[in-house]
């Protein structure tokens, strides 16, 4: 895992052997991650827990007394009774039976001071475990503003643990919290025996009643309860206005992902193209240079080029999450998604997939149910990702006339819209088929808390965004880079013979495979050049454009699309061009996506299933489109 260490923040130096380990537990939306960020700042490291695809976030901090502590941010939960892989990690970490992990010496239970009712039951469960813990009453400023009175002394007695009030976003109460944590670590004697076991419904009822008793005894209802959230929800959850606002928001998000990212992406592209050119001219011509320039540098570039879009996308997602809107979006979309057999929470991953299926698939972790999650992963690549745009633009520019239809609609724009729409419709159809034919199982319950609205805190947002970026670079880099090198090998070896006239790629393995399978692709109207372009295009969809440039020997690496477009117009029939577009709507022309699916599902089964169904759909769609077009005399 060299990349893991490489991305670890330099300041997160190896902690000393006597470092204490603490873990944060709490309900979702309790400000747990904000507290984690406030405690550890940028001294964080993100990886996976051994053997599962649950994110493991650990940070290092130094207390006022100079003691180093390792802090683990555990996934949020309402109970130690795990319902999802994430919650299972929380349970096992708290119980100290997580494979490959040392049990924490102490826990910090993070609670939203304004929403104590549900967390008290979790606290009672922690008490059964017997591991010492401190209760952090977070967002205490909001509780005070509401005039909520909490008898801290009594509450501390009732739960048998120290209590510290904190405001994570303002870093208030942190020294005191750490002091208490150190206190319980030092004072720790023989831990009482763990008597926790998965509660039955009757036991949950009893625990709830006990929590209720403690709550009534210690908490006086707020004098000025929050009414803002109710008022905002009146608009945002309005059956009609709410959906309209959500769609507007999505539209803005889209625009931002495309328009804000484009200049940066162009810059990165140009920078790497310049670097490749520089390497090619300044290093002696040869295999090593080609490997460095076309394999490594171009490979790194192909990973980095997605970063701007991913950052913008995650900026929006984090804003929506931190503000509390995300749960509302899932509420509004649940029925629409449910019609296609998808869970309400599948909405965000699918939305992300319009930028790139990789972050989309990575964000399916929010879905608890395995079948729901796998269905979402399988259909995510059908969403039109930004890498398809260069291909679509090239073909549409070459073959679809610049006409206006119906007075103001551009025909080219309409075709582009049609391609997007067919992606969405097919994703919904495929998930419908998966959930109604293959996994006919009953529907997973949809139940989620609608948290109080809050202003996202910029510092917190930045830290989380940085974490997302590092995860993407580490995960995607580990997969995309080797694949890019593989594609380079396939399109470089063997060398063209002496005195060869055609472009070098014709003689390579990629070229040969392309020509070999060309007869297979003839029924869908592909010539061998198109087929050859598909093979390096497996690395990333837009690479096909550059390869078409190479096989038709126009332009160089940069592929002058103007010239290429004119050339294609004379070389391909309209039917072939439309067939190529149809192919691109469905084809799994993206090895990195398949690699991420492998990582996220921990098995080669799902990438294989994905590849098989997408290739079949692509072939079928291209076949139908080609023959329909020929029948209409466009061949």
């Amino acid at each position: 895992m060299p990349l893991d260490t490489a991305i670890a923040d330099a300041s997160a130096s190896k902690p000393a052997a006597d470092t204490a380990r603490i873990a944060l537990v709490g309900n979702p939306n309790s400000g747990k991650t904000a507290l984690f960020n406030a405690l550890t700042g940028s001294r964080q490291k993100v990886a996976n827990y051994a053997g599962v695809t649950v994110e493991r976030k650990e940070g290092v901090l130094t207390t006022a007394s100079g003691r180093q502590m390792r802090v683990l941010d555990l996934p949020g939960t309402y109970s130690l009774r795990a319902r999802s892989p994430d919650e299972a990690v929380t349970r096992d970490a708290v119980l100290g039976r997580l494979a490959g992990e040392v049990a924490p010496e102490a826990l910090i239970c993070v609670a939203d001071a304004t929403n104590l009712r549900l967390v008290l039951r979790l606290v009672l469960e922690l008490k059964q475990v017997g591991r010492p813990f401190v209760l952090a009453l977070n967002m205490f400023d909001i509780a005070q503003r509401q005039g909520l009175r909490i008898d801290l002394e009594r509450l501390s007695q009732e739960i048998g643990a120290p209590i510290v009030t904190t405001v994570a976003t303002r870093k208030r109460g942190l020294p005191e919290l750490l002091e208490r944590v150190e206190g319980i670590i030092v004072a720790r004697g023989v831990e009482p025996e763990n008597v926790w076991r998965e509660p039955t419904a009757a036991e949950i009822r009893a625990a709830h009643a006990e929590a209720q008793r403690i709550f009534k005894a210690c908490v006086k209802p707020p004098e000025r309860p929050d009414t803002v959230t109710g008022k905002i929800d009146g608009v945002l959850l309005h059956p009609v206005a709410g959906l309209a606002i959500l769609l507007t928001l999505l539209f803005v998000m889209f625009q931002a992902v495309f328009t804000w990212a484009t200049p940066v992406m162009d810059g990165i592209d140009a920078g790497f193209a310049a670097l490749v050119a520089f390497t090619n001219t300044h290093l002696p011509h040869g295999l090593l240079t080609s490997f460095i320039a076309d394999g490594l540098i171009a490979g790194v570039g192909s990973v980095l080029v997605f970063l701007p879009q991913i950052l913008i996308l995650f900026f929006f997602i984090l804003m929506l999450e931190d503000s509390g809107y995300m749960a509302r979006a899932a509420f509004l979309m649940d029925r629409i998604m449910g019609g296609a057999g998808l869970h309400g929470r599948a909405f965000i991953p699918l939305l992300s997939s319009f930028a790139c299926a990789i972050p989309g698939i990575m964000s399916t972790r929010v879905i608890d149910n395995r079948e729901d999650r796998l269905t979402t992963i399988l259909v995510a690549p059908l969403m039109t990702c930004s890498a398809r745009i260069p291909v679509y633009t090239l073909i549409i520019g070459a073959f679809i006339p610049q006409k206006t239809v119906g007075g103001f609609l551009s025909l080219q724009g309409l075709v582009m819209f049609g391609l997007y729409a067919s992606g969405i419709v097919s994703a919904l159809l495929v998930s419908f088929v998966i959930r109604r034919v293959f996994w006919r199982g009953a529907v997973e319950p949809f139940m989620m808390e609608l948290p109080t609205y809050r202003w996202p805190e910029p510092r917190n947002l930045l830290i989380n965004l940085g974490t997302r970026a590092r995860i993407f670079l580490a995960r995607a880099g580990r997969i995309i880079l080797p694949l890019m090198v593989l594609v380079w090998v396939l399109s470089t070896f063997p060398y063209p013979p002496e005195g060869a006239t055609g472009p070098a790629i014709d003689y390579s393995i990629a070229g040969r495979v392309g020509k070999f399978i060309a007869p297979l692709m003839a029924p869908i109207g592909f010539n061998w050049q198109m087929t050859v372009a598909l093979i390096p295009g497996m690395a990333a969809r837009e690479v096909a454009v550059a390869v078409l440039g190479t096989v038709y020997a126009v332009g160089g690496e940069d592929g002058e699309t103007g010239a290429l477009s004119t050339l294609l117009k004379h070389q391909w029939s309209l039917a072939s061009a439309l067939s190529f577009l149809a192919w691109y709507v469905f084809a799994p022309q993206c090895l990195p996506t398949l690699g991420v699916v492998k990582r996220e599902t921990n098995s080669w089964v799902w990438p294989t299933v994905m590849f098989a169904y997408m290739v079949s759909l692509a072939y079928l769609a291209a076949f139908i489109v080609y023959h329909a077009a020929v029948a209409f005399g466009l061949g």
Partner: protein, 107 residues
Amino acid sequence: MSEAFALSPEFNPAEIEPGPLRPLASARRGERGVIVRVTGVSGAAEAVAAEELERRLLEMGFVEGASIEVLHEGLFGRDPIAVRVDDTRVALRRREAGAVSVKFDGR
């Protein structure tokens, strides 16, 4: 409270319809009441066992005696619904809400 209802000799579900005791699934926006009984049986095919659904509902605060108010309804088929359970706002589908019986305030 549920005990009282369950053990009462007069308790007959058939008689209660369409009285004030109804499943939360049938509630409309603005209706308030008190949760009388939570079971794991929603009346629809669930992906999770009845005991599991019951525990999930309990963990989200759907417990006998909790006050409840329907805050919002979705656009299609008025589903899902957003409810206030004591002080917590929770979204759930009507199918799962079928497992929660509520004594609604008389109107």
